[in-house]
């Protein structure tokens, strides 16, 4: 019996012990599991915290980046607009054409306007333009397009040259041009929510250097088209008509002359603007003197080029007429309109006289008369001014010299020979008749002196001579 109780006790004890130990063991196990979880959680948190700390360490730099991006986004929006704004775009194209010196003939929206792809955030807006222009007008237009704030890409262009036969002195050489261009509309998939940045203005001011650097880097066009610069249009046949008296100036030389004169004409225009806007009388007189000097010089050269027909290259001649002759004439016209009531200024009279002097010295009598004609109509008014009387007299004198020489040259005098013998009056055979010194050859024409190589005539108060040349083909005048 006792043995049985003992056994029971042991069994109970064993069972209780096992149960309790198992319970506690389970509790410990569970606790450890929980601990492991919490430790893992803590580790994760530690890692996350470390990452977040690292992340927010970069916040000041990110703030700077965002400020720069916000400030430069205006430029990007200009380049890559997020509004189609087609009406203004077309207006801009029209304005550019006008500024480049031609008119658009047609501007049609391309049918294949599309979104880049379903994933892309832009839409293409394409136009096909047709117009007629010369190569430099075309380049000026292209330059305006490519340097426009809004991004424009020329995807194709076709140029058909103006035929040589279609060119005349008056026409501007117009090539037929077709231009396909594209601009882009930004279609954002998500909208940026602006994060609040403390003391934004102050921070932006500190970053102004970076902002302007990035802004200029974003601007697309970096090429400056500098215009024609005396170059010929390669889409115009540059050959010149064959001349009987040998080749004249080369195309390059002709273009160089026109380029130089066109610049001078612009200079004259500027001088005229300065003279017109002068604040006081002294300044007006001073600037007017400068203007007259420049104007007389360019007019002199224009007359020489026209008389000698130096410009055989049609493109050069056309530009000469448009940018030099017409421009100078316009300034002269405006000057006369502006100061017409007062007659020509002293500077103008003096410059004209000097120009006439130079022409006469160069035996360019016709040019001297042309120079005189530019102010002839206003001399009567100038004569009323005591300060100008002498200058007007001088001009009239120079005019009469040039006129007399031209008239003298037009007198038909066939000098067939001279006879000079000692102790006898020299004799000259003119138009089949012999004359000696002091005899009248024709109206106003008296033989003044007869020499072996020269016969001098008194003509309207001037002594003019005809050189005797052994070669009868030539007849130079003195």
């Amino acid at each position: 019996m006792e043995q049985t109780d003992d056994k029971k006790r042991w069994i109970v004890l064993g069972t209780v012990t096992v149960v309790l130990a198992a319970t506690f063991g389970y509790m410990i196990y569970h606790q450890h599991e929980e601990l492991d979880k919490k430790r893992a959680e803590a580790d994760q948190l530690s890692v996350a915290i470390a990452q977040e700390r690292k992340l927010i360490k970069g916040t000041p730099e990110l703030v700077k980046t965002v400020i720069v991006q916000r400030e430069t986004d205006t430029v990007i929006k200009e380049i890559l607009s997020d509004t189609t704004d087609i009406e203004n775009f077309v207006r801009t194209l029209d304005k550019f054409a006008e500024e480049s010196g031609f008119n658009l003939e047609s501007a049609k929206q391309n049918q294949n306007n599309r979104r880049g792809s379903t994933k892309e955030e832009f839409e293409r807006v394409g136009y096909r333009l047709n117009f007629e222009a010369d190569a430099f007008q075309f380049l000026a237009f292209l330059h305006r397009l490519e340097s426009f704030a809004r991004f424009i890409s020329v995807t194709s262009l076709k140029l058909r040259t103006a035929g040589r036969m279609s060119l005349t002195e008056e026409d501007v050489p117009q090539h037929s041009i077709t231009l396909d261009l594209e601009t882009y509309v930004y279609v954002p998939r998500s909208v940026a929510k602006e994060a609040r940045i403390d003391r934004y203005d102050h921070k932006r001011d500190l970053l102004i250097g970076q902002i302007s650097k990035k802004t200029s880097a974003l601007r697309v066009s970096d090429y400056t088209y500098r215009g024609r610069r005396g170059r010929r249009d390669p889409w115009i046949d540059p050959r010149v008509p064959a001349e009987e008296d040998g080749p004249g100036l080369t195309i390059q030389e002709q273009l160089a002359i026109v380029e130089r004169l066109a610049e001078q004409a612009l200079d004259v225009r500027d001088a005229w603007e300065v003279a017109r806007e002068a604040d006081n009388v002294i300044e007006a007189m001073r600037s007017r003197t400068v203007l007259e000097e420049k104007l007389a010089l360019i007019e002199e050269e224009v007359r020489r080029i026209q008389l000698e027909n130096q410009l055989s290259y049609i493109n050069a001649a056309r530009r000469f007429n448009k940018e030099v002759v017409e421009a100078v004439a316009l300034v002269r016209e405006e000057m006369e309109g502006d100061g017409g009531g007062l007659g020509p200024g002293i500077a103008q009279l003096r410059e004209t006289a000097e120009a006439m002097d130079r022409h006469i010295e160069a035996f360019e009598y016709e040019l001297a008369l042309q120079a005189f004609k530019t102010i002839e109509g206003k001399l009567a008014i100038a004569e009323n001014d005591q300060r100008k009387v002498e200058l007007v007299k001088n001009l009239r004198f120079l005019r009469s010299v040039a006129r007399n020489v031209i008239d003298f040259e037009n007198v038909k005098l066939e000098i067939e020979g001279v006879a000079i013998q000692a102790e006898m009056r020299p004799v000259v055979l003119i138009n089949g008749r012999s004359y000696s010194e002091g005899e009248l050859v024709g109206p106003d024409l008296i033989i003044h002196r007869i020499a072996m190589d020269l016969v001098e005539f008194a003509f309207r108060g001037m002594i003019l001579g005809r050189i005797l040349d052994p070669d009868p083909q030539e007849n130079p005048q003195k």
């Binding site: 019996m1 003992d6 042991w10 004890l13 012990t17 309790l20 130990a21 506690f24 509790m27 606790q31 450890h32 929980e34 919490k38 948190l45 530690s46 996350a48 915290i49 977040e52 927010i56 703030v63 980046t65 965002v66 991006q69 986004d73 990007i76 380049i79 890559l80 955030e121 832009f122 190569a135 380049l139 292209l142 490519e146 991004f151 890409s153 020329v154 194709s156 262009l157 076709k158 140029l159 058909r160 040259t161 954002p188 909208v191 940026a192 929510k193 697309v220 066009s221 090429y223 088209y225 170059r231 249009d233 390669p234 889409w235 115009i236 050959r239 010149v240 008509p241 064959a242 390059q252």
Partner: protein, 214 residues
């Protein structure tokens, strides 16, 4: 067999817990006690420490959260700006600056004068394509004329291949040409016709060269 103890209570042998049993109980108690103590130490010592550590970390994280959110907001904003910039870069890199290239062509034609070649063109066709698969990116084509000699064509095309046009275009196609007309009324009278054909380089090559020159 049933045993009956008939001795009075006072004489009976006192019943004691056997030593073995006591030892067993003691062992059981110590095992269970140890386990319980270990559990208690874990539950109220280590676990509490870990819990408090976790609380500290959670608090720290919560403290960082506004700053992180702010950072993320800035990042999101920046990414949108960046996307637009990248898009702009991609679009602009495929563009050809025709003003520059045509100006350079005109300069080239004018620069050499009539001694090396007198060149002019009848037309011009230029196109930008983006066909990376067939490696065709566009071209510039023109029918040109030159005077006097066919060797002028070679001179001109040689100058084209050495000019700045090569930043954007590959080398010109081989020189060829034919005598086209003779007009005695013009100087020079005899002219040759030749094709000018230049293929555009890929946008990547053009971009690289732009970087190199800028």
């Amino acid at each position: 067999m049933i045993l009956i103890n008939l001795l009075p209570e006072a004489y009976r042998e006192k019943s004691k817990t056997p030593v073995k049993y006591m030892a067993g109980v003691a062992a059981s108690v110590s095992i269970c006690g140890s386990l319980l103590a270990f559990w208690a130490w874990t539950a109220f010592g280590v676990a509490a420490e870990v819990r408090s550590q976790l609380t500290v970390l959670s608090d720290t994280k919560a403290g960082l959260e506004p700053q992180v959110n702010y950072h993320r907001e800035l990042e999101a904003e920046s990414k949108i700006f960046q996307a637009r910039e990248q898009l702009l870069d991609r679009i602009t890199s495929s563009r050809v600056g025709w003003t520059r290239k045509l100006d350079e062509l005109i300069e080239l034609v004018n620069r050499q004068g009539e001694e090396n070649y007198l060149v002019w063109f009848k037309d011009l066709e230029a196109q930008v394509q983006d066909n990376a698969r067939s490696k065709v990116y566009g071209r510039l084509k023109a029918e040109g004329h030159t005077a006097e000699s066919l060797s002028h064509v070679a001179n001109f095309l040689e100058d084209v291949s050495q000019s700045k046009l090569r930043d954007v275009f590959g080398p010109p196609h081989a020189p060829e040409g034919s005598a086209s007309e003779t007009d005695e009324g013009l100087v020079p009278a005899k002219i040759w016709t030749f094709p000018l054909h230049l293929d555009l380089k890929s946008p990547e090559e053009r971009k690289e060269l732009r970087k190199g020159t800028s």
